[in-house]
Symmetry: C2
Subunit: 195 residues, 2 copies
DNA sequence: CAATGTATATTCACTGTACGGTATACATGA
DNA sequence: TCATGTATACCGTACAGTGAATATACATTG
């Protein structure tokens, strides 16, 4: 799992990621993944024990890139911490404009696996969300939020995941702007007054 | 659709609701619904054209009850508007304690149908969420939020749906308390200062 | 009243297909 | 020759949906 993947494994995971993210894990068959990867199903099963393994690999591959994107967006935004957090929501709003945008793969997978809380994909989903939350928490703590940092980090996570869900249903990215404003208000309320 | 359902139709929809809500629409077969309803599959297909029709009926039946619950919780909570909104999140937190709690059927169904935006169930999901949002909006407007009412209503919806998603993944209802605090802060910020 | 017709409601048994996963054999290079 | 990798063909199952027959209810008509 932690070894360097062969080119074939890589192609399979990439194909799985495209299809799973586009249509959901239950709607995509193993045959479809093999076809997309240009590989026979038997080859796929040589490299992955089961479809569940493939799902786990799919999410594994999205963990770091997702977090990095948030961090990049935060760093690139001008202004104070509150503005920078708001900047993340702004970038998310831009991304959601594309008709192919499909929300958060971790959340969507967790919905499809709602009755298998111990599924490796669920474990990875929780770990990913916790990483993001911890990063928000440390950012807020460095900005001087004190003991409020962890609460506000949780509130930001709720707003973030709320955006994914609401916009996936309504296809109305403007919710993200409203959520960004909310996040900025909450961050400011947690920081010591400026002057 | 608007006619009084026969007892058999009612039993089928109720069985479908239980199973769909417990496990998701894709994980539950029509055979399973028929079995749960104590009816042959062929009888089920006499009353409903397809599984999609059944899914739509399932969500149709959750629209008004869901909204009414929010309104009841709001009315029952003490304090000003901000406190009452927070009261909704508190009740939600209580509900999420039960191990059988499975989040919001509308959101979860929308995830499972992500590639069929025109599906009747998606249409009903959007309509339901809009009804809830409109109700929040009118409540805020009556409290004197002015033009901010619609923005804050959207922020509350994002927090609400964020709770459903986050808690379904983490199984940690405390996120709802944090979200309730956030909602109260946002509502207060939108109202004219007391004195 | 009895025989008949008709719409509603229900059942058993079935079809076609798509799916996750596998048995087995073949190829290739160290 | 042995490990790695790929391919063809297949298995058993589960699923959405259907065909054709049957039962019940109730009205129409001789």
């Amino acid at each position: 799992m932690s070894e360097t993947p062969t080119p074939t494994q890589d192609r399979i995971v990439k194909a799985a990621s495209r299809l799973f993210h586009a249509s959901g894990i239950r709607a995509v068959s193993v045959d479809a993944v093999a076809l997309e990867a240009g590989v026979t199903k038997r080859t796929l099963y040589y490299h992955f024990r089961s479809k569940d393994d493939l799902i786990a690999a799919y999410l594994e591959g999205r963990d770091q890139p997702n977090l990095s994107a948030f961090q990049r967006w935060f760093d690139a935004a001008p202004g104070d911490v509150a503005d920078k957090v708001k900047g993340i929501f702004h970038k998310l709003e831009e991304a959601a404009q594309h008709p192919h945008w499909k929300g958060c793969g971790f959340l969507r997978t967790s919905v499809e696996l709602v009755n298998q809380p111990g599924h490796p994909a669920m474990v990875r989903g929780r770990a990913h969300k916790m990483r993001v939350e911890s990063w928000f928490c440390s950012v807020l703590a460095e900005a001087g939020a004190g003991p409020q940092a962890s609460v506000v980090a949780r509130q930001i996570m709720v707003l973030l995941d709320g955006c994914f869900s609401v916009v996936l249903l309504h296809r109305e990215p403007a919710y993200m702007a409203a959520a960004g404003d909310a996040a900025a208000i909450l961050v400011r309320a947690s920081l010591p007054t400026k002057r």
